[in-house]
Symmetry: C2
Amino acid sequence: MSKVITPQEQDYSQWYNDLIIRSGLADYSAVRGCMVIKPYGYALWENMRDALDKMFKDTGHVNAYFPLFVPKSLFEAEEKNAEGFAKECAVVTHYRLKADPEKPGKLMVDPEARLEEELVVRPTSEAIIWNTYKNWIQSYRDLPILVNQWANVVRWEMRTRLFLRTAEFLWQEGHTAHATEAEARAEASQMLEVYARFAENFMAMPVVKGVKTENERFAGAVDTLCIEALMQDGKALQAGTSHFLGQNFAKAFDVKFSDKENKLDYVWATSWGVSTRLIGALVMSHSDNSGLVLPPKLAPLQVVIVPIFKGDEQLAAISDKVKPIIQQLKDLGISVKFDDNDNERPGWKFAEYELKGVPVRMAIGARDMANNVCEIARRDTKEKMTVSLDGISFYIKTLLDEIQLHLYEKARQYREAHTTEVNNWDEFVKTLDEKAGFVSAHWDGSGETEEKIKELTKATIRCIPFGQPAEQGACILTGKPSQQRVLFARAY
Amino acid sequence: MSKVITPQEQDYSQWYNDLIIRSGLADYSAVRGCMVIKPYGYALWENMRDALDKMFKDTGHVNAYFPLFVPKSLFEAEEKNAEGFAKECAVVTHYRLKADPEKPGKLMVDPEARLEEELVVRPTSEAIIWNTYKNWIQSYRDLPILVNQWANVVRWEMRTRLFLRTAEFLWQEGHTAHATEAEARAEASQMLEVYARFAENFMAMPVVKGVKTENERFAGAVDTLCIEALMQDGKALQAGTSHFLGQNFAKAFDVKFSDKENKLDYVWATSWGVSTRLIGALVMSHSDNSGLVLPPKLAPLQVVIVPIFKGDEQLAAISDKVKPIIQQLKDLGISVKFDDNDNERPGWKFAEYELKGVPVRMAIGARDMANNVCEIARRDTKEKMTVSLDGISFYIKTLLDEIQLHLYEKARQYREAHTTEVNNWDEFVKTLDEKAGFVSAHWDGSGETEEKIKELTKATIRCIPFGQPAEQGACILTGKPSQQRVLFARAY
């Protein structure tokens, strides 16, 4: 374990790894590409999950659970989807181990326990779910189906990064079925809005909403909508996707319904997901060289109170004073910890809670008590203020709201300052190399050009943003005519 | 899908399968031995999970997440554990599929993508977790570790039953690490108490607490504590286990800590778990030939209001009357649905909500409105009562509490009536065959006798109950001396 966090300026990537490990969000594991989500990281995920789950239920969705395994014959049914994921599938081929006759105490795969049909560990669940929906859907009365699943999935990635890209990750995947194209498209749009609201209101992370180019589309989708965020190093990160799947899966699994006129048609589909990757996005949106900076709405611990004392008598007096404040904070729905641990000095504790990203720290000593004040430190700006104890709980509640807004505003300003319109190739390359961030540029609309730009610069088209004004222009690479700008960036 | 539920008296096992499918708790899947947990079943699981999770957190535990896969070399480290699970392991051997050159559009396992070391899909997580704890534990200051995980696990069972025994299931597994044997034993006991409280207070399912015999112990445990419940057909069901693991896993993974005197010792461990199997137990504890009977504390929907109306005007009048009642119920924390669907008749709705096990049904028509009353039907006893609308929400709240208690009391009486003390072999066999239930009998304490009894009668020792008076006796099979009775039953 690294004892010191590498500064961002020195090596952003190393800073990220150090911080994840040091702050106790996650740990490496003995399984290639898989990580352990430690209790502090999991508490953060629980808060994200609970907020998202409520938003899903408020928009009429219910949760269900489908098998981890997908038989190969189902997996390959939707060809594009299968082709897209085939290269990164963990495959179960046997169902038993046995004692290894040549190595006492060791086990071996039992060759007699080979499966007749191999099972793919789900990289995504469209196949197994649409094979199930076939049995649930006969008539328009059975529609819509608005189901979400919280689950683990496995994609065998060659290069992995904690939270950002791991072989196994946790996510949610919504899978909906509809009677009309319009309804399915509206669902895909609605869920993108839900993701955008979650990113902005809970994660304090501004996002661009848009649609992916064909090259970047989800395998098996007709359209992939996405939210894209900008990290502090100027690289983009895809934070959530919502797919309009058309009738592709309905056709692959022969899922038809009879409409009100008793006419048979294939069912329309969407799927949408966000994952533990969002934790990586959260870290890279706000944190600094001292540690995590967490938005109050998601922080596992919102307020820590550190007593500054000598001896039991002073501690007892401070505890008495603080007890009703703790209760008031709890009554306001604020999570709070009183750290009266005698083994560590206040300075050590201050550094530790900074590392953990606790939004508000309150310190109180004997002299403060005499003056009826305390010291409040906010994690985001590191400002310290001496504040009266009268009405302190409401002060803190307001401060938490202010921190939440400030984090969003700071990230929004960063993104605004790092979104650049360019009109030719030189500007494009220079901006990517010297300034980074989102680069808004004209593109001729062809997949080949997109691929060529990626080869030359490592920049990809993050999305074609929604609500952009039409604008005539010339492609930065080919000079061919273009009707609108798209958003390029180097990305995670 | 079976349209009719087979009566319990005719075939209890078929009744169970029919009910699970018909009530929408779960569905079969395309994957051998795996099921789909449908939205209604998952909502029930969410309520169980949330109640348990709160009890875990109230006793100082935190959640974390460990990898799905266990490398074979780790899996085999604790020999007894490995031996116990080796025969039911799904094994990942490859990490890629490729186009099958002989079958266009089909995929095949890529032989070049064979893993150097096979990965076992976790049947339980002691191995991967203790291999991780090794890095987290150096000193007594790092202890205790009180971690729980909500996860899916896979055990390749040959004969599967919906919820009761499936290849993949959802569960929680607590894994704790302690500095002393006493502390670890106390933890194992505490968690058994948590399970017993959950079973009795939430599931309304009385349980016997006790310890397993050596034959029935968890593979790798020193002691397995358990709660055992009795189903309506007189068969027992193991509802939860809590294991004192001694230093077995610490030794297998070399996990030592330095105590206050700087002396090195192996860490002491527990693990404990309950699973979606509890849903099967819940169904078989209370439900009847009309459908599910769910305890109010876990029911996804507690109250349904069915309007009896002709035409929009009557419906509007009933809606107006009912609206404030719905709000009052919600304010009391009660989940309620007003089913004003015009496509189905009240009689159909009554049957449907009976099938779903909604604890309280309120029906209200024009004549009821005139008399300021409604009809209340309770699901457990099927009693119907005409009740004044004044104070109806408090009446319902009290009724829900009463139903919860009544379900528990009914199940407790059934168990009491079906727990029989026997003193010789003939009585033992006759009781098992003619009355079923728990049979309390003397046993000579040997594994061979236990095995022989199982062969002869299919009855197993469910547990050696806690708090039993010492009593001299003779083993029902061998006549050898015995110091206490144990609890036998045929079991799920």
